[in-house]
């Protein structure tokens, strides 16, 4: 019985327009994003200037290819254009996924949930028939052209969005966010020069209203978007919420990507109208838009995507496997849609000593790291460890002896007074990187309740 329902679900058809509209919008935003990144000088600043880059576990082979980095970004922009136009789509989507993900893997310093989201969507797009409608591919190969596609293709993207929102909402269900209005209590009062709302940011009730509102928004928005009666209302909320965050915080293109993506929840008819408009604009032959053909259903892809989503649902909960406070240790913090959850600042001073030698050397971090890298490193234990290992190797003596590496570090979390962070007596040079709990992180000393 269950098998039959899921089989029936897989065979349900929908119009291809939503997929095409999403493809175009996504490609366009990615292209704009890459250009913006380039023009801001961030390729140089974030990838070419640093002497050292932080790696992801298992991806140590990913390195910055010198001036070829520009070519990498160009490839990324080109493949984004391919996605937008639906030109050699599968190749474009694959190249975009690979180049974008490679860029993200080049330096862990720049990790952002938004970028992770882009990588995941790009991965999904490789397997979705988003080029079978209103694309250059259909003009080149008319037999590709289909007006209808299996419904699950669109639902996969909706599910991805819903996971991002819902999990971001779950992550807010903790005592810091709900009962102390942190970290908004730190962020908002200095934002009082924003027109209209700004005058309220000094008010206690406003901090709680924003915190609770944000949590409720994240948890409910996928459902409000799903039901046609609340959809326009939900979309209004989406625009308001992301508009507000884009004013308050430096989050670049992300709000606009999300606003556009939520259009996925709108009806087939809505998307057909958009396609018709655009088609008229670019003089796309109308006969290709109404051929009545249905794309062949696939069985392997839904299976693959099910596994993909199972992982998506589980990965954010991996933090439960670690002792200690998640916000403090950050073990299992990334890849979990924990956005804007904490304000953390730190300072880390590294001291190198050679056994048998009395004099130890303190490291000037600026000689090795950019200010941005130093800042990110100071509050994240895995970066502290990788940097310690880099220093160990850098200061290896000609006779092969390596120094012991100790760190004196302090971290302040969500407005608490700064406290010692890493055990200063532990020689980090001999600690192994990995997913195992890091015993050399000092205890937090406070309790944060909730998820």
């Amino acid at each position: 019985m269950e098998f039959r329902t899921s089989k029936k679900y897989v065979e349900r058809m929908g119009h291809a327009a939503p997929l095409a509209v999403f493809r175009i919008y996504f490609g366009m935003m990615m292209l704009a994003g890459i250009i913006r990144f380039w023009l801001n000088g961030w390729i140089e600043k974030l990838y070419l200037l640093p002497r050292f880059h932080f790696h992801y576990l298992g991806f140590e082979f990913v390195t910055v290819p010198g001036n070829w980095t520009y070519a990498l970004f160009a490839l990324c922009a080109l493949s984004a254009t391919g996605i937008m136009l639906g030109y050699r789509y599968r190749l474009s989507a694959s190249l975009f996924f690979l180049s974008f993900t490679y860029i993200e893997l080049m330096d862990k310093t720049t990790y952002l949930n938004h970028y992770y989201f882009i990588s995941l969507v790009a991965f999904l797009l490789i397997f979705l028939p988003a080029n079978r409608y209103f694309s250059i591919d259909t003009l080149r190969n008319p037999h590709l052209n289909c007006e209808f596609v299996p419904r699950w293709n669109i639902d996969a993207l909706r599910l991805m969005l819903a996971i991002v929102y819902f999990y971001a909402g779950l992550a807010k269900l903790n005592s810091e966010w709900l009962f102390h209005a942190q970290p908004l209590r730190i962020w908002l009062p200095t934002q009082t020069d924003i027109p209209l709302l700004g005058t309220l940011f000094g008010e206690e009730w406003m901090l709680y209203a924003m915190s609770w509102g944000g949590a409720i928004y994240d948890l409910s928005i996928p459902f409000l978007l799903l039901y046609s009666r609340t959809r326009w209302f939900a979309f209004g909320l989406v625009v308001f919420f992301h508009g507000l965050t884009s004013i308050l915080f430096p989050i670049g293109m992300f709000p606009y990507i999300m606003i556009g993506s939520t259009l996925l929840f709108f009806s087939d008819g809505f998307h057909q109208k958009i396609v018709n408009r655009l088609a008229a604009l670019v003089r796309f032959p109308a006969k290709h838009l109404h051929n009545g053909i249905t794309a062949p259903s696939k069985t392997l892809v839904p299976l693959l995507l099910s596994v993909f989503f199972l992982f998506q649902l589980l990965i954010p909960f991996r933090y439960l496997l670690y002792p200690g406070e998640l916000f403090w240790t950050e073990e299992g913090y990334r890849f979990s849609w924990r956005v804007m959850l904490m304000e953390k600042a730190g300072s880390a001073t590294f001291v190198l000593s050679f056994p048998g030698e009395e004099k130890s050397i303190q490291i000037d971090n600026r000689a090795h790291l950019t200010p941005f890298q130093e800042k990110q490193m100071s509050t994240q234990p895995d970066l502290i460890l990788e940097y310690a290992h880099y220093l160990r190797d850098k200061y290896r003596k000609p006779d092969g002896r390596t120094p012991q590496v100790f760190v004196r570090s302090h971290v302040a979390l969500n407005g608490r007074k700064s406290a010692p962070y890493i055990d200063p007596t532990i020689d980090l040079a001999s600690e192994k990187p990995g997913l195992h709990p890091k015993k050399w992180i000092l205890p937090f000393g406070h309790e944060i309740q909730g998820l």
Partner: protein, 368 residues
């Protein structure tokens, strides 16, 4: 269709328009009750502008003393020149941290006080003529450290120095050139403040990364960490190297001045933090911190930081006048001072920056 398109465009516009004009906040009346513009005005009017005016005056005095000495070199004129040099060097400590506006664009700090200087290069210039001092590569052969070498270290004794100034035209010419360059740079910076930059500085009172408060607090942090903690104390004490480097002290050829210069630089860091030269009234970052009160539990952050400044002052006063001698005879005292300075790095850079919601990175990259 039409209706929904219009609604969409309206909503997009609604969210983009405010975003477009938020970068440089114009509204200065912060509802959190703290007037950042007033904070900036305090810094500008009670510390920065008087600091430059005073510094420029000492430079003019220095020029006079130098002219007198070059015209008629003798040991008493040399002593007078030396004391003018030290006065000017001290006055410099009160403006050194404001690497903002014109000072930033002309690299005032690098051209004024990059040490150690290079005697070999200077001797080359004395023999072959001075280079273009606007080249960044010449920054350690100009400013106070180069003058230090010329008037304190170019010969083994005062008589020896006087004799060199008598017999070699190059010394007098180069001395005058260096002083004129300092005057020129400082005049540019001071005039820029006088002709509009003061208002620009005050009006940019928003909270974006490029706002005056964020920028100057980052400058402050940079100065405190790099110039005060590392250059004046840590590097000579050998904190960052395998052995102490007593030749890296400030005013190496007149090392008796090194602690004095440090004390004045520290003093200005304390003034900047409290926004004023008088201890009683509280403006500056201390007042801003007291106002925001974002640190939960424990003592007031401004008190902790000011207390640590007192500790630093006490540790420094235990040291010899000459940091060179201190490093060579009893480096432990230097290390103690360094650790005391470091403790305030944590309070300023971690706790204060978090409370003020100022990012330390100067990178305008996207966040989550």
């Amino acid at each position: 269709m039409l209706r929904s398109t219009k609604l969409f465009i309206f909503l997009c516009a609604a969210c983009i328009l405010p975003a477009g004009c938020n970068d440089e906040g114009i509204d200065n009346s912060n509802k959190d009750g703290f007037n950042r513009q007033e904070l900036l005005r305090t810094w500008a009017d009670s510390l920065i502008l008087p600091g430059y005016t005073n510094y420029l005056q000492t430079l003019l005095d220095l020029k006079q003393s130098a002219t007198d000495f070059i015209d008629k070199p003798d040991t008493s004129a040399l002593r007078k020149l030396r004391s003018s040099w030290l006065n000017s060097y001290i006055a410099w400590q009160y403006v050194a941290l404001y690497e903002i506006g014109k000072a930033e664009s002309v690299s005032l700090r690098d051209f004024t006080n990059t040490y150690p200087t290079s005697p070999a290069n200077i001797e080359k210039y004395l023999a072959n003529g001075a280079p273009n001092l606007e080249l960044p590569s010449t920054r350690s052969e100009q400013g106070f450290p180069a003058l230090d070498y010329l008037i304190n270290g170019s010969a083994g004794s005062d008589t020896g120095i006087v004799n060199r100034y008598i017999s070699e035209d190059g010394l007098g010419a180069y001395t005058a050139l260096l002083i004129d360059r300092l005057i020129d740079l400082t005049t540019q910076v001071r005039d820029h403040w006088d002709n509009g930059y003061r208002n620009q500085f005050m009006e940019n009172s928003g909270s974006s990364a490029s706002s005056s408060v964020n920028k100057i607090v980052n400058d402050y942090m940079f100065y405190y960490e790099r110039s005060l903690r590392a250059a004046k104390v840590g590097i000579p004490a050998g904190v960052f190297s395998s052995m102490p480097l007593s030749d890296r002290v400030e005013a190496y050829y007149h090392p008796a001045a090194s602690r004095t210069l440090f004390m004045h630089a520290l003093q200005n860091c304390i003034y900047f933090f409290n926004g004023t030269r008088s201890v009683e009234s509280s403006a500056g970052l201390a007042a801003y911190l007291d106002h925001l009160q974002t640190i939960q539990g424990g003592e007031q952050l401004s008190l902790l930081i000011n207390h640590q400044f007192v500790v630093i002052t006490e540790k420094a006063l235990l040291l010899r006048e000459s940091f060179k001698e201190q490093v060579e005879k009893d480096n432990q005292g230097m290390l103690v001072l360094f650790d005391a300075l470091q403790e305030n790095v944590v309070l300023l850079k971690v706790d204060m920056m978090q409370a003020l919601n100022i990012k330390v990175d100067f990178v305008d990259a996207d966040g989550d």
